[in-house]
């Protein structure tokens, strides 16, 4: 049954391209293709400004920062003699480097003093062995007066020059490309025996990563619970009242982030509006005011408020397109209101839930200002430490931390795509 039909179709279509030509005699297919290419080129030209903009302001800086997370030439460019020595002796004993190694070091220290690169080289080593900027500075000053044997002389000026970890750090830093910043970002410390996990009271980054994701998850969940009824109301109210409600949603969205965060401080702090009211009506004793600010509670409350519109808007846009007749049909066929919601309404809102959750979660993971202002002791997130290292000019570590965050988010995005499908995402 199917075969003759297909054959008939083929027979009818095959000779057609040769017959059809345009008015000036060119084959129609070629003319069409040419016209389409031209249209596509024009469309591409329209997109070029955005493409260039995205490339210049987004991809290039991100690529440049990520490159810094594994590349640093601060030491290698300042210490050519040591670079050469390390390259020739890759298997040296860091516990007892030979005299030539010290000779190369002294040679480089003299050069650093002349080139004014002591600080750059010392800072690079300081990233993995704290306390070495001053070691390099004083070493470079002393190097001028040193005479062979350099090993004895240099160690006499400061015994730290014999420390194996300093030699390990210099050997690693003599390569431009290094995974060391990622070791530091994973709470490893360089010791005399190589890289080892830091002591429990020194581990911070992995813990903060876990906490950041946990807090972001909590905030996303609360946002969803709060936004769902609001979005539903917005989508079902008559237009005139819905737009009034919409303004209430958008007004905080248009207000400065700092103003909103400060407003929460004024409301929730111990001498704030909420506590004052609770004390006045006698719910809370004056000496026993609730601590709702400068802790995790404050961070979650303020961030939930700031991010709520990002959940409401995608939900609303999806809910508005769901015809009321579906739920009515379900009810008329005998479903309870809970079954109707669970089996008919909720599945249709999934694209909105997914989009809103993804948006809120990703924004929360990178949030910086709000936790910095209201976080207190336990409200710190990983972004606060990234900012610290940017300010203290360890850009490589900041880039490594940011890179790890980026990878973690991409992994989540991939899981999301596998579970729900990125094509079902509906942002508005």
């Amino acid at each position: 049954m199917a075969e003759p039909l297909a054959a008939a179709g083929n027979a009818g279509a095959a000779p057609a391209p040769e017959l059809l030509t345009t008015a000036d005699g060119r084959p129609l297919r070629a003319a069409l293709a040419k016209a389409q290419t031209r249209a596509r080129r024009r469309a591409f030209l329209l997109v070029v400004p955005l493409l260039v903009f995205v490339l210049l302001t987004f991809l290039v800086p991100i690529g440049y920062m990520l490159q810094r997370s594994f590349q640093h030439d601060g030491f290698s460019s300042a210490a050519p003699a040591l670079d050469a020595w390390f390259a020739a002796n890759p298997k040296f004993d860091p516990a007892n480097p030979p005299e030539e190694a010290y000779a190369a070091l002294v040679d480089d220290l003299k050069r650093m003093q002349g080139d004014r690169t002591t600080g750059i080289a010392g800072t690079r080593i300081n990233y993995t062995v704290p306390g070495t900027v001053s070691l390099f500075k004083s070493g470079a000053r002393d190097a001028e007066t040193l005479t062979p044997p350099f090993k004895q002389g240099l160690v006499a000026t400061n015994p730290r020059w014999a420390e194996p970890k300093i030699w390990l750090a210099m050997a690693a830093a003599s390569h431009n490309t290094t995974p060391e910043f990622y070791y530091v970002a994973a709470d490893y410390k360089l010791t005399d025996n190589g890289w080892e996990r830091g002591a429990p009271n020194e581990r911070i980054y992995l813990y903060l990563f876990a906490k950041t994701f946990l807090v972001s998850g909590i905030i996303t969940f609360i946002c969803l619970i709060l936004a769902f009824p609001v979005a539903h109301l917005l989508a079902t109210l008559p237009m005139s009242r819905a737009s009034l409600l919409m303004i209430l949603v958008l007004l905080p969205f248009w207000t400065s982030l700092l103003v909103r965060t400060s407003a929460w401080i004024a409301l929730l702090q111990e001498q704030g509006v909420v506590n004052n009211m609770l004390v006045k009506i006698g719910l809370v004793a004056d000496g026993n005011r609730l601590a709702m600010m400068y802790n995790m509670t404050g961070t979650i409350v303020a961030m939930t408020h700031v991010l709520l519109p990002f959940m409401i808007l995608p939900l609303y846009s999806v809910m508005r397109t769901i015809p009321v007749s579906y739920t009515r049909a379900a009810r008329s066929l005998g479903a309870t209101s809970w079954t109707t919601f669970r089996r008919v309404y909720l599945p249709q809102t999934l694209p909105g839930i997914a989009a809103g959750s993804l948006l809120v979660f990703i924004l929360a993971v990178g949030y910086y200002i709000t936790p910095a202002l209201v976080g207190g002791a336990d409200g710190q997130l990983i972004s606060n430490l990234i900012s610290f290292h940017m300010a203290k000019s360890n850009w490589s570590l900041a880039a490594a931390l940011a890179g790890m965050l980026l990878v973690a988010i991409l992994v989540l995005y991939w899981i999301y795509d596998k579970l729900i499908g990125i094509d079902r995402l509906k942002l508005g």
């Binding site: 690169t117 600080g119 300081n126 704290p130 900027v133 911070i204 002791a377 300010a391």
Partner: protein, 357 residues
């Protein structure tokens, strides 16, 4: 089309040439305002060079980014002492010849007139500021007022929450001094693992009662809101709140931790000559005096202290409010830039880990 391009390019070049404003970057707030009044406006009047003041949370960060990207738009910046040293080491800053700085008003050569350490290879001190702690005078009065740095940690005698800067610097030193380490031994103690443990152990005693602040303006705000009964703060912020706004705040100078604030010139500053003139003008005896009359940070020149300084309100004598006043210097610690350049990242990691425990 080509003609239009040429003309616009020429115009842009012309505009950027005519746009030779001297740009000074500082910290904003009461401090930025004081520097505008003390340095920027008089410099413009005297030289006719159009000078603008821009704000930053910490000028050291944008300056490094500017020099590294080769697009320097700032001529002079106000940075912390340790940053002036660190950025100079990293080759970000232009060296400043001490001989180019004007002599003191009494004729003393600049290098003898400036206090020790106030002129470095790439920076000149504009003022000396201090980390101090302040309390609410309505909560602690007369003999019951805190007097020593140890009182800050005494929750029994002085109940109430404490405000502390969220960061290792100046907090660890404070804890050690409160634990009885003399100012001169603080950094040698802090260089040992036992010393660091000791500082954190002292901080443990008040940890649950601490409200942490980050921006300088937060500290007086916490005190004014009654959120804390005592807080560490930059002394100028407390002075401004007490004198300008009449807040009931008092400073305890015992255990103050002071340091120089520096003017630096980034490498490749667009108006190098004017920038150097500006630094020389601002750090002259008169310049430093003008600044100390705007905000309670001490001048770093001996000659600037010869005559009494009066606050801009016309009646408050600045002397007792300055970190450099002899009465306030009895138990004082100068921040060690060498120590913090070496250990900032390490101790901050430890500090953050301690916070989240």
């Amino acid at each position: 089309m080509k003609k239009v391009l040429t003309i616009t390019t020429a115009l842009t070049l012309l505009a950027s040439a005519a746009h030779a404003d001297l740009t000074v970057m500082s910290w904003g707030g009461a401090y930025g305002e004081a520097q505008t009044n003390a340095f920027v406006k008089p410099f413009m009047e005297k030289t006719g060079v159009k000078t603008v003041m821009v704000d930053s949370d910490n000028p050291a960060t944008p300056i490094k980014a500017m020099v590294e990207s080769g697009n320097v738009t700032v001529d002079v910046a106000s940075v912390e002492y340790a940053d002036a040293i660190r950025l100079c080491d990293e080759g970000i800053l232009e060296p400043i010849d001490p001989a180019s700085l004007p002599a003191g008003s009494d004729g003393t050569a600049a290098k003898d007139d400036f206090l020790k350490g106030a002129v470095t290879e790439c920076g000149v001190s504009t003022d000396i500021w201090a980390n101090v702690f302040a309390y609410d005078t309505t909560k602690f009065k007369g003999d019951n007022a805190p007097k020593t740095v140890a009182d800050f940690f005494d929750l029994k005698k002085f109940p109430g929450k404490r405000g502390l800067k969220k960061g290792a610097k100046a907090v660890l030193e404070l804890a050690l001094m409160a634990d009885g380490v003399p100012a001169k031994d603080v950094y040698t103690t802090l260089s040992t693992p036992e010393g660091v443990d000791r500082a954190f152990k002292k901080l443990d005693t008040i940890k649950k009662d601490v409200v942490w602040w980050e921006a300088g303006a937060q500290a007086p705000q916490l005190l004014a809101d009654g959120e804390v009964s005592m807080t560490t703060a930059y002394n100028g912020r407390i002075f401004a709140a007490a004198i300008n706004e009449g807040k009931p705040f008092a400073i305890v100078w015992d255990g103050q931790i002071y340091e120089n604030e520096m003017f630096v010139i980034p490498k490749g500053a667009p108006n190098m000559k004017e920038a150097k003139d500006f630094v020389a003008f601002a750090t002259s005896t008169d310049g430093l005096r003008a600044s100390a009359q705007q905000i309670s940070y001490g001048p770093a020149r001996k000659s600037a202290m010869l005559k009494p300084l009066i606050f801009k309100d016309g009646k408050t004598e600045m002397g007792p409010h300055l970190p450099t006043s002899p009465d306030n210097m009895k138990n004082a610690l100068e921040t060690s830039s060498t120590f913090w350049v070496d250990h900032d990242a390490e101790l901050n990691e430890r500090f953050q880990a301690w916070l989240s425990q």
